[in-house]
């Protein structure tokens, strides 16, 4: 049995920042476990730039962004084991992991930070009818083939879903000389960042078909084409609009799912809206001493917010280890989601003495709004409002609540809503 004070699972930007923060807060005995052969997580395959605008006021590539944290981490006395897969965790904070050199590792720790990232939604989850040939890839898998392995999964491409990875790959494939025929999106708006729609599609004259979907896959061995159709108000295909588009490759960029198989083993409660753990303001899950941050908690569009959230988790774990176990978890203030908001993190505030100076709230809207009013309401009346411009479901909203604002009101619950300005309903 190996004994540790804190174990961080996952060495992407979330795990890196969380470990660094915990160390800076005084945790001595930290182990970071990563299943890949190097640190950096998904960032290693994101060779485009656009990382770090908030944190470094610079446009870095994914690997560059990760490298800054990896360097910092290496200066600290934090133990890292690579090529090691965590297989199991328990609510007693026992961890079982495996690697080639050491075999099965049994670890007992006092606190855990979950930072396992997410996985991509697949064709099966969408139930696209048709054959099952080669040539259908999730956008992230295609990104890995191109950027890490140096191979082209295809040269004549249709992209389903306008998530950021799909948009980035539309540009990447075009630059590599492949033809990208179109991006097909079910919703009436893109699911990616506006800047990616502009820089990856518009700049290359790649059409984006909104309110469309792929209704059939053709080709028995390798993909030969897809049938695309417009959808009606119930998102059902309008068959009269069906068009056949020949292609050898279909990329799916239809959403990411937080990877919480391990969390479930430790009886961590999950939020149906985020797909990640329910956490309090210090990113602590329903299992005390287990924290979560990054894409395992909810899917992020910007890595800067991942870092910000991971620092909260790192500090939370440090606080927990120094005094935590006596903290008062009982008087929790739930943060409820009302009209206009798809989800919110954290889902509750807990223990006044555990509050930070600033309480970060991360949320997403249910639909795009040119101008929206964010209202933080409670049983004691409205606590805060803020007007926001150009709200989109694909761009996370981050607002902070000062400790005083919360303590003065002393609410029993909070209710968050987003109202479109000009919408009187």
């Amino acid at each position: 049995m190996i004994y540790k004070e804190l174990v961080v699972i996952g060495g992407g930007p979330a795990g890196l920042s969380a470990a660094i923060q915990a160390y800076e807060e005084g945790v001595q005995d930290i182990l970071l476990i990563e299943r890949d052969f190097e640190l950096g997580g998904i960032l290693k395959q994101c060779i485009h730039n656009g990382f770090g605008l908030h944190i470094f006021q610079e446009e870095l590539t994914g690997p560059e962004y990760a490298e800054r944290f990896i360097k910092e981490l290496k200066k600290m006395n934090i133990e890292v084991i690579l090529d090691t897969m965590v297989l199991e965790i328990t609510n007693e904070k026992k961890i079982i992991a495996v690697n080639k050199e050491l075999g099965i590792l049994n670890i007992q720790t006092q606190a855990i930070i979950l930072a396992m990232g997410c996985r991509e939604r697949t064709r099966g989850a969408l139930n696209i009818p048709g054959f099952r040939p080669a040539g259908i890839f999730t956008a992230g898998t295609a990104q890995r083939f191109v950027n890490i392995e140096g191979y082209m999964p295809g040269k004549d491409i249709v992209i389903l879903g306008s998530g950021d990875i799909g948009l980035i790959m539309a540009r990447r494939f075009t630059l590599e000389g492949a033809k990208v025929r179109c991006v097909v999106e079910l919703m009436p708006y893109s699911n990616g960042l506006t800047r990616n729609v502009v820089q990856c599609l518009e700049d290359y004259d790649i059409p984006l078909y909104l309110r469309h979907t792929v209704i059939e896959i053709h080709g028995k061995d390798r993909l030969e084409g897809v049938t695309v159709a417009e959808v009606d108000d119930n998102n059902l295909p309008i068959l009269a609009t069906a068009t056949y588009i020949p292609c050898d490759t279909l990329l799916l960029s239809v959403g990411l799912i937080p990877e919480n198989e391990l969390s479930k083993l430790a009886e961590v409660k999950l939020d149906d809206r985020t797909g990640g753990p329910i956490v309090n303001q210090r990113m602590e899950t329903s299992t005390q001493g287990i924290f979560a941050c990054g894409n395992v908690l909810h899917v992020h569009d910007l890595v800067d917010f991942v870092t910000q959230e991971a620092r909260l988790a790192g500090k939370g774990a440090a606080d927990y280890l120094s005094k935590g176990k006596v903290d008062n978890y009982a008087d929790a203030i739930p943060v409820r989601v009302l009209k206009g908001v798809r989800y919110i993190v954290p889902q509750y505030f807990q223990g006044k003495e555990m509050l930070n100076g600033r309480q970060e709230l991360f949320m997403r809207s249910v639909k795009p709004m040119d101008k929206a009013k964010l209202i933080i309401d409670s049983d004691k009346g409205v606590i805060k409002t803020k007007t926001l411009n150009y709200v989109k479901p694909s761009e996370m909203i981050n607002v902070a609540l000062q400790k005083e604002e919360l303590c003065q009101a002393n609410p029993n619950y909070l209710e968050i809503s987003l109202q479109e300005v000009g919408d009187r309903s």
Binding site: R35, D83, M85, L87, I96, V98, N99, K100, E101, L102, G103, I104, N106, R119, E120, T122, R123, G124, A125, N127, P129, G130, F131, R132, P133, A134, G135, T138, G140, T141, R144, F145, V146, I148, E149, G150, Y151, M152, P153, G154, K155, E176, G177, A178, I215, E216, I217, K220, D221, R222, D248, T249
Partner: protein, 480 residues
């Protein structure tokens, strides 16, 4: 020159190959695909039926009940997961109760052991997620579930160890009588000569029989579509749950798999194209509505994949297992629709008798190897056993497929085994890498790299399955 040439590497062809490999014979199995278990034997309900369905007196009835009895020992011998979990036929109204009564009688006539009626309480105690209005069920203790491709692959591996030769990617284009004694089988990879030819070509058995000039019959493909749910919902069904059958099909079932998933399906629709295994929108709707009649709360957001299989339904209505009267030495095994998988061991037994009748001299081998090489399933091992294994071979400490916890050791083994995997799908069927919730998103680049390294070829050569299904189309910078 072979004694026996088998056409078709489905469960029927491979079972016959394995049975015949117990004797001193020269045998070749010819398959048009790149691997065994690429036809109907990989896409079916995987139920080892008890045998109450088929009409008494038919070959289907006789071979099903007999075939069923072989599975526990056979799966033990070949190290294939098999679960004898029993089946229920569910009745929700008076008419269905009547039909279930008829099935009970039929089952007794067919010689199915242990049949019993269960009442609502008993049913819901075992199957709490079932629709509460269920009134009665026919319980069959001898029914079970199996992994159909793993079983077929195991038969092929073991017969290969015992000397059967396999010729892949070699579609048969003709069968001719060249002398009184000998037949020639023409394939895209050249001609084969043999004394006996066994036609186990599944959906195409009618065409092969016609090519050979033997008896004519027609096979009509009848499609069955399926949806599989995430393992997380494996608790929804314990046993094989059938609705009360209609005249044409056993209906849409809710059924666990040996690997812990639950599926719904199949529907049953005649089609024209024997290679059309596409899943259609209407089909998906049909099986969902069918599944909901048994388990109302299906986790439709947690479907991991869909697939379809084609029943080889013959115009004769029963299995066609006989030596040709027209072409001596040619033996038909056609129309092997459900319960064909279950019947396969009994079919092979019957083929041995037919061969003896047709004059083949059989002499048992004294060096027959009954077991295939040991297979490790990391996912199912305890940590002590895992630890030991990793000490012997560190590749077993390297997890490649995170959803199904498949290690590099298992993938390398799948390639190096007898009749090893050559494709991504071959690896998938042998190890389950890529069969989980992320459907290979995470592991397929790694599996591809291991295949290329082991087979000593370029990554661009690696295929998903057959020729033309290459995964990568080139290196970057090649299209600029």
């Amino acid at each position: 020159m072979d004694d026996v040439i088998i056409i078709g590497g489905g469960v029927v062809g491979c079972m016959i190959a394995r049975e015949l490999s117990k004797y001193n014979l020269a045998i070749t199995l010819v398959e048009k695909n790149e691997d065994v278990a690429c036809g109907t034997s990989k896409a079916n309900s995987a139920v080892i039926h008890a045998g109450f369905d088929a009409k008494p007196g038919t070959l289907k009835a006789k071979l099903n009940v007999r075939g069923n009895t072989f599975f526990p020992a056979l799966c033990e011998e070949l190290d294939v997961p098999f679960k004898n979990n029993g089946s229920l036929v569910l009745a929700f109204d008076d008419e269905e109760i009547n039909t279930v009564g008829e099935l009970m009688e039929r089952g007794k006539t067919n010689g199915v052991p242990g049949l019993d009626y269960w009442d609502t309480d008993k049913i819901l105690e075992v199957e709490p997620y079932l629709k509460k209005t269920v009134r009665r069920a026919l319980y069959a203790p001898t029914a079970g579930i199996i992994c159909p491709y793993e079983f077929t692959i195991a038969l092929a591996e073991n017969s290969y160890q015992n000397g059967v030769k396999y010729l892949f990617e070699a579609p048969v284009t003709g069968v001719e009588k060249i002398t009184d004694e000998n037949l020639v089988v023409r394939t895209s990879k050249g001609d084969l000569q043999g004394k006996y030819v066994i036609n186990a070509a599944g959906l195409f058995a009618d065409e092969i029989s016609k090519l050979a000039g033997a008896e004519e019959y027609q096979i009509i493909p009848r499609k069955g579509e399926y949806l599989i749910f995430d393992k997380e919902y494996g608790y929804l069904a314990q046993m094989v749950l059938f609705p009360t059958p209609s005249k044409i099909s056993k209906g849409i079932l809710v059924c666990p798999t040996v690997d812990g998933n639950v599926f719904i399906g199949p529907n049953s629709n005649n089609i024209d194209d024997k290679t059309d295994v596409s899943v259609q929108r209407e089909g998906i709707e049909e099986i969902i509505s069918g599944g909901k009649k048994i388990v109302p709360d299906l986790p439709l957001k947690n479907i991991i994949t869909s697939f379809a299989g084609l029943r080889a339904s013959s115009t004769k209505g029963d299995f066609i297992i006989e030596a040709s009267q027209k072409v001596k030495g040619f033996i038909n095994v056609g129309g092997i629709e459900s319960p064909g998988f279950t019947s396969s061991p009994a079919i092979a037994e019957m083929i041995v008798e037919i061969l003896i009748n047709e004059g083949l001299k059989l002499e048992k081998k004294n060096n027959f190897i009954p077991h295939r090489p040991r297979k490790y399933r990391f996912r199912e091992m305890d940590n002590e056993a895992r630890e030991k294994l990793i000490k012997q071979n560190p590749d077993f400490g390297h997890v490649i497929c995170r959803c199904e916890t498949v290690t590099k050791g298992e993938i390398v083994d799948a390639i190096r085994r007898p009749l090893g995997a050559r494709s991504i799908d071959g690896i998938k069927r042998r190890t389950r890498a890529g069969m989980g919730r992320c459907q290979g998103g995470f592991c397929s680049p790694k599996v591809l790299a291991i295949l290329a390294e082991e087979l000593k070829v370029k990554p661009t050569v690696i295929r998903k399955a057959n020729g033309g299904s290459e995964v990568l189309l080139g290196k970057i910078k090649e299209y600029l």
